[in-house]
Symmetry: C2
Subunit: 202 residues, 2 copies
């Protein structure tokens, strides 16, 4: 800590705070701090305000638990979206990835996590109850499980499909197989097995 004492408190304080960010080590934090000292004052203040605002203004959509600043998120408010197809994702950022693909025009439900017994996360900590309510009271014809293709994501999808089995909706999950642009030579065993199991008619 000797080296930090030589520095202005505000600088080493900012370096400490930046170090807490994921993927930011001490050297990067110092570089960022010196960058923020060098840019126009307004730019540094804009970043500080943006951080404050993300915590003061952003909350979860009352319907789908996506991030938003109003009661409902822009997707739930959009009359153009297909209100009969519901896509279930783990996190708002998964929703963002799906939106970027522009391949889905329905609405979403964000679980805000996945069932992970080893991390002490059970179904009660997720937004599963509101999801079941939506499916019971809504006019959905299909619920797409778009949880991550991991043990915990798959387990969560399985749990949800049991919870939703009694309702007259079609339950689907994202296709698995080889990825566009990849080469078979480097595909691993699970990818090949998924691709064979789910093979499609030409």
């Amino acid at each position: 800590m000797k080296d930090q004492e030589k520095h202005a408190g505000a600088v080493s304080n900012l370096v400490d705070q930046l170090c807490r960010l994921p993927g930011v080590g001490r050297k990067s934090a110092e570089r960022l701090a010196f960058h923020l000292l060098r840019v126009p004052e307004s730019e540094a203040y804009a970043l500080a305000d943006a951080i404050r605002r993300i915590r003061s203004d952003v909350h979860y959509c009352k319907a789908c638990f996506n991030l938003c600043e109003d009661e409902l998120c822009s997707i739930c408010q959009d009359p153009q979206r297909d209100q009969t197809r519901l896509c279930v994702v783990e996190q708002p950022r998964d929703l963002m990835s799906l939106e970027q693909s522009q391949a889905f025009s329905g609405v979403y439900h964000v679980l805000l996590g996945r069932i992970a017994p080893l991390d002490g996360i059970g179904p009660d900590q997720l937004t599963i109850e509101p999801l079941v309510d939506r499916v019971r009271t809504g006019n959905f014809v299909e619920v797409i499980m778009a949880t991550n293709p991991t043990v915990e994501g798959d387990g969560t999808a399985l749990y949800l499909s049991n919870q939703l089995a009694e309702y007259p909706v079609q339950l689907t999950r994202l296709a698995r197989g080889i990825t566009a642009g990849s080469v078979l030579e480097y595909a691993n065993r699970e990818m090949i097995a998924d691709a064979l199991t789910g093979r499609q008619a030409l």
Copy 2:
């Protein structure tokens, strides 16, 4: 921009601000933004405040132009430091590197840049006048040029040595040669040449 419209304005605003940081692309910025949404609110606010404070509280030391929050930086205020040896560096972060080595007990002078005609930076934009004043009025016996070992850093050191030639101080520069822990096999020509030119008696 389609994907961003789907997001709360505060989130995409923060992502935009984070993208302006050096080494932070859009994906990293999104990851950081979601991290800041997840951490305790106090931690996000602490980062925002730290950024504000680095601009509102930090300024340059009146004597050496290091960063500080008082009139004088902690090094200039320290009565233990050798006031007869002055080390000239380009930037506050260079000073920090030298301090971390704990090999220098004198005081510093920060130029706040280097002479770089191609970038339009001349001697007048640096703190050279205050440096010459300090050397003229101080009791220094040695001035160490610790500018970077680059064309511009060397040029700046040469310019300074001309400016300071009339004063009764010894002018030195940092030693150059092979680096501790390196292997000769991978040293480049300049390193070997510097090491041979500056060879020391055993």
